[in-house]
Amino acid sequence: VLTRRRFVKLVSGGATALAVLPQVGCGDNLHLVRGRFFDEAAWQTIDIATGLILPGEHGARDCLAVNYIDQLLSAFDVDPPAIYASGPFSGRVPYPDAHGAATSQFPANAFATFLPLSRVKAIAWRMRLYGSAVTDGGTFNDAVFGPTIGWRELYADGIKRLDDQAMIIRANTPFRFLEDPADQEQALDTVASDQPDFWDALLQHTLEGTFGAPEYGGNLYARGWHMARYDGDSAPRGHATYDEAQGMYVDRLDQPTSQPSQGDVTEDFDADILDLLTVAALGSGGKRFF
């Protein structure tokens, strides 16, 4: 089965250098909400940064990725910690009838509650969030391999660095008050280079907050899934049903597993992506077939 790390090695083998940071996204309102970890200034800073990473309609800001990040960083403020949503179903999808059609019966949303953590899992997540040095039972490798820096510290420092960079570009102007998108990009680009651990965390959390289940605080109204043309969670209906009366499996009509989706058409990649794929294919020892 394909894992993410396999893709990594596959495509990065022929990839070009890091892209220049893009235009600012949709530029919608700052969310005047105070987070559990982020204060208002921090919230606005991270919100803008997520929009630079994944801009546009139904992008990271529309999905409230910043709220996902805030909920993650403050996961231990609630009990059980908000790390692993429960299961099995979210309640977004109904039960099927005997022939696979949707019924009007929906399961309860088990994703709305979180699972208790075992002792060692709690240590792991406290190490991730708070760092190994302040986690009971978390220093077992620090003496030889150095401490694990927690994400809360990374974000707090990253936000400060963004403001520092912003004020180098525009005097007395914190990052969140930069008006020129080029200034925002320049500041974020510099911090990305100087603070790779923060940048890596911000990237992964922005994407999880855009495309993860909404119960984790992002992907507001499942906008990220809509943007990506992704079905989201599908159980308990799924994509096929064994119809006992017919003695055979039947595809779900609107989201089949064994056939093309109705309405799907052949799509060309744009020129930038064709170039990227060409480099990746030829660089890997593969082929471009046209």
């Binding site: 089965v1 394909l2 993410r4 893709f7 596959l10 893009p22 630079l52 990473i53 994944l54 546009g56 692993y84 949503a85 429960s86 299961g87 099995p88 979210s90 088990a110 699972l115 075992s118 899992k121 240590i123 039972g137 490798n141 030889v144 694990t148 890596d200 990237l203 994407l207 999880e208 855009t210 495309f211 993860g212 289940a213 943007m227 990506a228 992704y230 969670d233 599908s234 159980a235 308990p236 209906r237 799924g238 994509h239 096929a240 049903t241 064994y242 989201q255 597993t257 064994s258 093309p260 989706s261 060309d268 744009d270 794929l277 294919a281 890997s284 020892g285 593969g286 082929k287 046209f290």
Partner: protein, 571 residues
């Protein structure tokens, strides 16, 4: 007897206090051997390092819903069941010449939870072929490799394969639809194949046009209601995910539940075994120390001890206990094998929705090859695969390619590496080598303060030669399937395979093997192994079914020495 258990971190009969056997690990091997012993009336204690996500697994009134779900954040981004490299890191190097290590983190870790790694697997369940048990003889001496015959052959294990296929529920093709190169079976699969995924049929059609023989992949997932579990709904969250409906015939909801309901089994989870306690002469084990859920060390004893913690971890446990334990041959930890995975990806112009279905529904074994035939070297079964994870896709573009902003958005929307991707993954034979091994890292620790496991592994020209021969053929299939691009994944270092085998090789000669043909350690009177550590060679087929058939063989020989088939009920 108390079922279900009302004690925290315990499943099964929580009143049991004396045990005939202690099984370390509740996965494919551990569940199977525990069920065999329990059905014969043995009192069994299972120790599982991970947590439990099947809250009603021991409830006679019904299995109840699991805690798994269609949730990429939970199962993938936050690794609910995967080995967490922050608290259970491993180290890696390709050889001693690398120094102590070149990498700290994840090196072939397997999930930690009740039911073991099979919970995360998509449960592709082909059998091995008869020749896979005879490669020592058929290949002859190969420099720097240690191929060996298995001390049991296919004919001996055939009814054990049947027993597992029937007991857990496997779907698969028969007759003209089956793999024409597959081993003979004495009994049909209990269920026919479910629907194939669209992405798989595109590749299968191309392969067929080129003269190959694709087939519906034998899979331990229901395609009909089976023994109280529902037919699969093809939710799409299969590989890497616990099943939200119990359609996946994982050991937990099949053999382990059956074992627990006998009343002869107690399973303690969040119970990480620290070491085996040997006697003074290192000829037997007197007890097992484990770290309980609350962090306290507890000792338990039994007449027999069975290692089933996975290939790498079972060997590590011996080394943690005493480097000489069971190790007069010096073979403990050696001959570590993975499947050598050759991956060729096609990017189409059409969407194939690889997030709908059982991850892999078709395969072909045309590239398995023939022992000793240089024109048809031993590769392995080819999975016709797809890509399903949206967050994973986005991270690849952003974190690895450095694409953010508008280009990231366009990549996600045009989706070349998910919704338009078809892949072929060959699970190639990995030559066993004495230098490929697991041992203990001299400095790295885990959260239990145990020395971490170190993997030393490098490829042999045996498997790289096969790869070079089959890559052009895989690319040809991608081109025939209408791919715009064909991409060849470079070999992984360290291997990303979760098919971990070897380290406690079974054999007839105590000088060159750790366990005998019944899985018992040559050196120890009361210790057995019942997991993939026993494999002398890796074959070119997914290992879980053979792990279970072998664990059943081990258990049956404990229960009925000399007449192991007498314990079989399905064949």
């Amino acid at each position: 007897m108390g079922l279900p258990s009302v004690t925290a971190n315990v499943l099964g009969d929580d009143s049991l206090a004396q045990f005939d056997a202690i099984v370390i690990g509740s996965g494919a091997g551990g569940s199977t051997v525990a069920r065999t012993l329990a059905l014969a009336g043995h009192k069994v204690l299972i120790l599982e390092a991970g947590d439990n996500y099947f809250p009603a697994l021991d409830d006679p009134a019904g299995l109840g819903p699991p805690l798994f779900s269609n949730d990429e954040v939970k199962l993938s981004a936050r690794s609910l069941i995967s080995q967490d490299a922050l608290i259970e890191p491993r180290s890696f190097r390709t050889s001693i010449a690398d120094g102590e290590r070149t990498l700290v983190g994840d090196a072939n870790g397997l999930p930690r939870n009740v039911g073991g790694a099979a919970v995360h697997a998509d449960m592709k369940f082909p059998r091995f072929r008869p020749t896979d048990f005879q490669l020592g003889t058929l290949l002859g001496a190969i420099p720097d490799a240690s191929f060996a015959d298995w001390p049991v052959d296919y004919a001996t294990l055939e009814r054990f394969y049947v027993e597992i296929e029937q007991a857990i529920g496997v779907q698969g093709p028969e007759g003209v639809n089956a793999d024409p190169f597959a081993a003979p079976k004495s009994k049909p699969y209990p269920m026919p194949p479910g629907l194939p995924m669209y992405a798989n049929t595109i590749l299968a059609d191309a392969a067929r046009r080129l003269g190959y023989h694709p087939f519906a992949y034998p899979t331990a997932v229901t395609s009909r209601p089976y023994r109280g579990r529902p037919a699969c709904i093809d939710c799409g969250f299969c590989s890497g995910y616990g099943c939200p409906t119990h359609a996946k015939s994982s050991p937990a909801v099949t053999l382990l539940r059956e074992a627990l309901l006998t009343g002869n089994v107690q399973l303690r989870f969040n119970a990480a075994v620290h070491e085996l306690v040997p006697n003074a002469t290192l000829t037997a084990v007197d007890g097992v120390d484990y770290i309980a859920a609350n962090g306290a060390v507890q000792r338990v004893t039994a007449d027999r001890y069975i290692l089933a913690a996975s290939a790498a971890e079972s060997a590590r446990l011996l080394l943690l206990s005493d480097p000489a334990l069971g190790n007069s041959s010096g073979m403990v930890g050696r001959n570590l094998m993975f499947h050598y995975q050759t991956i060729v990806i096609g990017v189409l112009r059409d969407r194939v929705h690889g997030h709908r279905g059982r991850s892999v529904t078709m395969g072909m074994s045309d590239f398995r090859g023939t022992p000793g035939d240089a024109d048809h070297p031993l590769g392995g079964i080819v999975e016709l695969a797809t890509s399903a994870e949206l967050i994973g896709e986005a991270k690849n573009y952003a974190q690895q390619l450095g694409k953010v902003g508008d280009l990231l958005r366009r990549l996600i929307q045009q989706s070349p590496l998910r919704d338009k991707l078809v892949a072929m993954i060959m699970q190639g034979e990995d030559a066993p080598q004495l230098t490929n091994r697991v041992d203990l890292d001299p400095a790295l620790k885990d959260v239990y303060n145990r020395p971490a496991l170190r993997v030393t592994y490098n490829n042999h020209v045996f498997e790289t030669t096969a790869r070079e021969l089959y890559v052009p053929k895989l690319l040809e299939i991608q081109g025939n399937a209408g791919a715009q691009f064909g991409l060849v994944a470079p070999p992984d270092t360290p291997s990303q395979s979760r098919h971990v085998m070897g380290t406690l090789r079974m054999g007839n000669d105590p000088a060159t093997s750790v366990c005998d043909r019944y899985g018992k350690l040559h050196d120890l009177g009361n210790v057995w192994c019942a997991d993939g550590a026993l494999f002398p060679t890796s074959s070119g087929f997914n290992p879980t079914l053979t792990i279970q058939a072998l664990a059943l063989w081990v258990g049956a020989n404990i229960v009925a020495p000399g007449d192991p088939e007498s314990v079989l009920v399905e064949s």
